[in-house]
C-alpha cells in the first residue's frame, strides 16, 4: 500500500527531529562509504537518458545555429558568407518590420494579460456565487488548439458577414476590416491571443490573491478603508510575484508566437503582421536555410536580452519582499 501514502502523511511518521535537523553536520560525519552510497543512490546516471535527448535535440541545434547563421545553407552543404544574413535581416523592410511587430505583439499581449488577468481574478475571488463556472469558462480557451481558435476568429472577424461585424452594425458602427487592414491586422491577432491566453493569467493571479492572509483585509476594514484601498495597498503589492510570472510567461510566449498569426493572417496583408517566427518559417519554406537560421539567432538574442535580465530583476525583487 505504499502507493496510497502521500508525502505529507509520511512526513509525520519520519524521525524528523534527529535525522533532518543535522543535515549539514551529518555530511561531515559521513564516511567515504556513505558518500559512495549517496552517489549510488542518487546516481548521475539518472540524468543520462534525459540529457542525451535534450542535448541532441535542443542544445546541439541551439549551438550550431550560430555557425549556420553565417552561411548559405542547403542542409547538405554550406558556404560561409559572414554576416550577410544578418545584414539582410536588418536592411530588408519586410524583415525589419518583423522585428518591430514581434516587440509590439509581445508587449501588447502581456500588458493586456496582466491588466485583464488581474481584473478577472479580483472579480472571481469576490463574493460571486458562480465563480467556479466562470473560472472554467475563462480558462478553457487556454486548452483549445491555437489553430482552431485562429480559424474560428478569422471567420467571426470577417468584414461583411462575420458575427462581430453584424453585431457592430446593429449598434450603428461600421466594422473595420479587422484582418485585412494593414494597420489593424496585428492588433486584431493580438486581441485574439489575449482572449485565448488570459485564462492562465487569471488563474495565476487567483492563486496569488488567495495566498494573501485575510487579516490584512480585515485590518483595512477596521480602519474603515474602501475596496479601492484594499486593492491598491494590499492586493496589488502582495500579488506582485503573480504579476512577475504572468509578465515572464506571456513575454516568452509572445516573442516566439507563430501559430495564431500564421492561421489568421499568414503575416499579411503584405508584411504588416509578420513577426520573427513567421519570417523564419517563410524563409525556411523558400529554402533560405541560412537566413532562417539567422532569424532564429536574432530571436534567441532578443529573447535573451529581454527575458534573462527581467528574470534576475524579478528574482531579486521577490527576495526583498
Amino acid at each position: 500500500m505504499v502507493t496510497s501514502v502521500t508525502p505529507s502523511q509520511t512526513r509525520t511518521t519520519g524521525p524528523r527531529g534527529d535525522a533532518g535537523a543535522g543535515r549539514p553536520t551529518r555530511k561531515q560525519a559521513r564516511s567515504g562509504g556513505a558518500r559512495n552510497l549517496r552517489a549510488r543512490t542518487y546516481s548521475y546516471w539518472f540524468y543520462a537518458p534525459a540529457a542525451v535527448i535534450y542535448g541532441l535535440i535542443f542544445l546541439v541545434p541551439t549551438v550550431i545555429a550560430f555557425y549556420y547563421s553565417l552561411t548559405r545553407w542547403t542542409l547538405f552543404d554550406s558556404e560561409f558568407i559572414g554576416l550577410d544574413n544578418f545584414r539582410q535581416f536588418f536592411s530588408e523592410q519586410s524583415l525589419v518590420s518583423g522585428l518591430k511587430n514581434t516587440l509590439i505583439y509581445a508587449v501588447l499581449t502581456s500588458g493586456l494579460k496582466v491588466v485583464l488577468g488581474m481584473l478577472f481574478a479580483v472579480l472571481l475571488t469576490g463574493p460571486i456565487r458562480s465563480r467556479g463556472l466562470l473560472r472554467s469558462v475563462v480558462f478553457f480557451p487556454v486548452l483549445v488548439s491555437t489553430v482552431a481558435v485562429g480559424i474560428t476568429f478569422s471567420v467571426l472577424l470577417q468584414p461583411d458577414f462575420g458575427l462581430v461585424a453584424t453585431v457592430l452594425s446593429k449598434v450603428g458602427i461600421t466594422s473595420p476590416d479587422w484582418l485585412g487592414d494593414p494597420s489593424l491586422a496585428l492588433l486584431s491577432v493580438a486581441l485574439v491571443d489575449v482572449w485565448k491566453g488570459v485564462g492562465l493569467a487569471t488563474l495565476i493571479y487567483i492563486a496569488g490573491i488567495l495566498a494573501i492572509p485575510k487579516d490584512y483585509y480585515e485590518a483595512v476594514d477596521v480602519d474603515g478603508g474602501s475596496a479601492w484601498t484594499k486593492f491598491r495597498n494590499i492586493t496589488l503589492p502582495l500579488a506582485r510575484p503573480a504579476t512577475f510570472t504572468v509578465i515572464l510567461l506571456s513575454l516568452i510566449g509572445g516573442l516566439r508566437s507563430f501559430d495564431l498569426i500564421w492561421t489568421m493572417t499568414g503575416g499579411g496583408p503584405g508584411f504588416s503582421s509578420d513577426v520573427i517566427a513567421s519570417v523564419i518559417y517563410k524563409q525556411y519554406q523558400a529554402g533560405f536555410y541560412g537566413l532562417a537560421t539567422a532569424g532564429n539567432v536574432v530571436l534567441f538574442v532578443m529573447v535573451s536580452l529581454i527575458i534573462f535580465p527581467l528574470f534576475r530583476y524579478f528574482n531579486s525583487k521577490e527576495v526583498e519582499s
Binding site: 509520511t10 534525459a50 535535440i57 541545434p61 489553430v147 501559430d259 534573462f308
Partner: protein
C-alpha cells in the same frame, strides 16, 4: 445593506453575461456551423441550423482526403501517449536527483532547465540533426522533439514535488539494501503519483495541441497530426465551412473531455509550474 447586495447581484449578472458572450459564443458558433449543411454554413451566420446535419458532417469529415482525419487521430494519439510516457519516466528521474543531490552538477542542470523554458528552439538546425539521425519526417523524430521541448517544464514540476518527500524514506530503504533505480522505482516513483498525473494531463494537452512542431518536423499529408489537418482543411474546404468546423469540433473534443474530468488537476499543473518557473 440592501443596495449593496443589489449592486453585487447586478454586478454578478453583468459579469456572467459578458463572460458568456465573450468566452462561450465562439464555441457555440463552432458547434452550430459544424451542424449545418454546406449551403447554410457558407453564410457564416450565428444561427440555429434549419437541418441538423451533425452525423452526415462527421462522416464526411472523416471520409475527406482518403480518411486523413482518422490517420491524423491515430498519429496524434501515438505522438501524445509515447511522448508523455517518456517524459514521465525521464523527468521524474531528473527531478529526483536534482533535488536530492545538490551541488555543481545540479546547478548546471537547473540552469539548463531554465534555459529550456526561455530559449526558442533553433528550427532548421534541429531538422538537420534529425536528418543526420534519419528521423526527419518520422513520428519517432517528432516524439523526440516534443520530449526535448517539454522536458524543462516537467522536470520543474517533479523537482518541486520531490522536495516534499522526506529523505528519511530514502534512508530507510537504503538500510534495507535498496539503492539506485530499484529504490527510485519501487519507493519514490509511486509516491510521485499526484504530480505524475498533473504532468500527464498538462503535457498531453500541450503536445496534442501543438501545431508548430508537426508543421516543421512532420510535413506531408499522409502522416499529419490533427492540428495539421485543421490547417489542410482550411485550404481545401474554404467553401465547405461545415466540414472545416466539424473538424475543429472533433479536434477540440479530447481536451474538453479531459478538462471536464480533471479541471482542478490541469489548473494546478499549469499554475504551479508557472509560479515555480
Amino acid at each position: 445593506m440592501r443596495t449593496k447586495t443589489l449592486r453585487s447581484v447586478s454586478l454578478e449578472v453583468v459579469a456572467i453575461l459578458v463572460a458568456l458572450v465573450v468566452f462561450v459564443v465562439p464555441f457555440v458558433f463552432m458547434f452550430l456551423t459544424a451542424s449545418k449543411d454546406e449551403f447554410e454554413s457558407a453564410d457564416l451566420k450565428f444561427s440555429l441550423p434549419t437541418d441538423w446535419a451533425v452525423v452526415d458532417n462527421i462522416k464526411e469529415a472523416f471520409a475527406a482526403r482518403d480518411g486523413m482525419l482518422l490517420t491524423a487521430f491515430k498519429n496524434s494519439t501515438i505522438l501524445t501517449v509515447v511522448s508523455v510516457a517518456i517524459l514521465v519516466v525521464l523527468c521524474s528521474m531528473v527531478g529526483y536527483v536534482i533535488q536530492r543531490r545538490p551541488g555543481r552538477v545540479a546547478n548546471l542542470a537547473n540552469i539548463l532547465v531554465i534555459s529550456g523554458l526561455i530559449i526558442p528552439p533553433a528550427v532548421v538546425p534541429t531538422i538537420w540533426v534529425l536528418q543526420q539521425m534519419h528521423l526527419f519526417k518520422t513520428l519517432p523524430g517528432l516524439i523526440l522533439v516534443e520530449v526535448a521541448y517539454q522536458m524543462a517544464f516537467c522536470v520543474l514540476l517533479f523537482r518541486a514535488f520531490v522536495a516534499a518527500i522526506p529523505r528519511e524514506l530514502d534512508e530507510a530503504a537504503m538500510i534495507d539494501g535498496c539503492t539506485g533505480l530499484n529504490l527510485f522505482f519501487r519507493v519514490i516513483f509511486p509516491l510521485l503519483r499526484p504530480v505524475t498525473i498533473t504532468v500527464i494531463l498538462t503535457s498531453s494537452v500541450f503536445i496534442y495541441s501543438d501545431f508548430v512542431n508537426p508543421l516543421y518536423f512532420l510535413p506531408g499529408d499522409e502522416n499529419a497530426t490533427v492540428q495539421l489537418t485543421l490547417f489542410n482543411f482550411l485550404s481545401q474546404f474554404s467553401t465547405q465551412y461545415n466540414l472545416l468546423f466539424m473538424d475543429i469540433v472533433l479536434v477540440t473534443l479530447p481536451p474538453l473531455v479531459l478538462f471536464i474530468f480533471f479541471n482542478r488537476k490541469i489548473v494546478a499543473g499549469m499554475t504551479s509550474g508557472a509560479v515555480k518557473g
